[in-house]
Symmetry: C2
Subunit: 454 residues, 2 copies
Amino acid sequence: MSNVPYKIYLPEESAPRYLHNIRAKMKDNIEPLLHPGTLKPCTKEDLEAVFCKKSAEQELNTKDEYIEIPEDLIGFYRMYRPSPLVRAYCLEKMLDTPAEIYYKFEGNNTSGSHKLNSAAAQVHYAKEQGITSLATETGAGQWGTALSMACAYYGIELDVYMVKISAEQKPYRKMVMETYGANVIPSPSNMTEAGKKILAETPDSCGSLGCAISEAIESSMKKDNCRYVLGSVLDHVLIHQSIIGLEAKMACDMYDIKPDIIIGCAGGGSNLGGLISPFMADKLDGKNNIRFIAAEPASCPTFTRGRYAYDFGDTARTTPLIKMYTLGSGFMPSPNHAGGLRYHGMNPVLSKFYHDGHMDAVSIVQSEAFKAAVTFARCEGILPAPESSHAIKCALDEALKCKETGEKKTILFGLSGTGYFDMMAYGNYNSGQMTDYIPTDEELEKGFATLPKV
Amino acid sequence: MSNVPYKIYLPEESAPRYLHNIRAKMKDNIEPLLHPGTLKPCTKEDLEAVFCKKSAEQELNTKDEYIEIPEDLIGFYRMYRPSPLVRAYCLEKMLDTPAEIYYKFEGNNTSGSHKLNSAAAQVHYAKEQGITSLATETGAGQWGTALSMACAYYGIELDVYMVKISAEQKPYRKMVMETYGANVIPSPSNMTEAGKKILAETPDSCGSLGCAISEAIESSMKKDNCRYVLGSVLDHVLIHQSIIGLEAKMACDMYDIKPDIIIGCAGGGSNLGGLISPFMADKLDGKNNIRFIAAEPASCPTFTRGRYAYDFGDTARTTPLIKMYTLGSGFMPSPNHAGGLRYHGMNPVLSKFYHDGHMDAVSIVQSEAFKAAVTFARCEGILPAPESSHAIKCALDEALKCKETGEKKTILFGLSGTGYFDMMAYGNYNSGQMTDYIPTDEELEKGFATLPKV
């Protein structure tokens, strides 16, 4: 038995006091956000009309590698962080692999995922600025729950536009948000012009993140002293999520753990981007040769089958244009896809890393992800989120390759959350009713046809 | 700010290697279990017919204060233990109390509660003995989930008789157990004579723990190489749960924290008993003067309105007779009571402590428990189990008394679990539809009328 404990918890006093901004390390910077009207690079003022000032500032900050965490936010983080870096001894034993497997577990909080890291930061900044209410969207529900928790703590009102199919599949998620005082509206709704338009075209629409974003932005613009916040895709969210990677790296350093492979599930990219941020900085400096892998669903294959192009973040085409891997803002994932990771686009920094060959991506069908999830749950004692299960499946595959070759690789993956509110999907899987979906090329072409001409 | 961190995690290598058996410290020992047929004290052989050998041995062991934890079980515990002792800084600030508030949080595992501590121990012992299948009952579902997890890990088959009203209120609990491979049967069922009898008398029975116990015992007796296991009430379960108190005491000692009050919710007593065990040992030695408080639901007031008498553990009157506080095995709590803590009896050791004046008890109506739960969730970031919320309410009351008097007491309570599978109850509370229930004296008399004449 190695001297590494099952769970490495950093002492609170050595927890990170600075967040990491990977863009400061990139030689070629990413292409700027473009204003949807003028097609010119967005200014701070453009962004401040929608986002909190600090988020806008961070979104445009490509210079500072380290950004100080406010004292008050450090207090919030201490409620549930540092999160453990877990050595998966039981999984290794069950797989009989020479690989060492580690996971950074972000599910030990009531939101059930890493989303609370950015929610707390954004609500802290909103409060500091004197904002009194916020609006957002949520897909699988983790982001909405996380934001509800942060808003309850800081005393801020919150409207959450929740993708309708998720609201139906996960009624308890809605109740958790309501317990924390949030106002939850299934999207598309009749509360906004964007929602009304979708409902007029597709009355039985099951919703999409892109549509819910349009609704949340529109509703935030109509309210006094209100701003829009979002939980993934943009670079300021990645900065907040870098706390995952910073802690993971410190824990690795404590025990001289040197990952060969780092895996994260990828929807909008916040979990993956946060996890790899400081490791990638070292890679860009030539200090490691880690293989980074994005694990995405085959039903929403943004990296593996998407295009690297400027696109809107929402279906109503109101957001800035983002240079990213995308399936087109008109892409709608199949309703049989469970959980999150259903967004059409991908964080621009991760998109550039993938485009430049610094990162790999694999796509995974959902029944394989759930099979891996059940294997993991039974020997590691944690029932994972469907999203995280994509990373688990990828980690299992890599560990089994090591078994074949005899290589003793060190594999680290992000266990971004728990699946306690996804039991309907597990029930479908258990009863053999889960179906897989891989879009045809023709279906993808329909999405690509919605890409703007820039 | 004190030097105590938000969360005290013991290093894994200093985690307890021995469990605590409080009976070895008691001057007057508790009265023995009686065989239901002969009314003579139960022998090891009597108990081994129903329970695993090790559980039977521990149930009768009143001599050894410390019992070694098997190496393999230590490995299982390391998956999710040591659990944190949390300083409730945010709650203290919100209440503006001079009291220091701590909670031992047992919810950071997929079973969502402390129940996994005894489940892992009992399944380990069953495996060691060569048992291939187990049967049990579950009320709120935590015990069934915990046992499913332990059985999946050790490769043991499991039948769970789940109180029907809980199975209906918490469909997702059932799916979690099934994901871990358990066979879940709503109780009363047609699978057993005990279930059939209840259904014949009360076709729309919503079930009770007492009835589900009868069914599980009967079904375990019919199967080859099968034993019955239970998750509370009996003394061997308290031994397993003492790991909560042992860790809590070590964490307190590390930071020189001296609790004045220790509070736990009480249903069958496993959480409360486990938490207070080593602290009570010191109290019996005159080393502290801690006030211990059992927080129980007003709808099932075993301590505060029950009788100290010999009674059966189940409704079919098949278990040994237990000297305990009880409402009578025929007592059925109101269906509007959410969550667990609905058992008619109470662990015999705790019963004796209460009877002898070593422990206090308070009863709490459920809407007050939920109110406290929401207050706690919003400032401490954890959505508590309805059961644990009784302890929270009691802790809030004590902290507010300190605010009035200016006393700087140290309050420690057990946060036994999370409420992620209790959202229907939270939904009822949020929408103002939650009702309270306090049994009338006449209703209690009906329960007492079912007490055996011993």
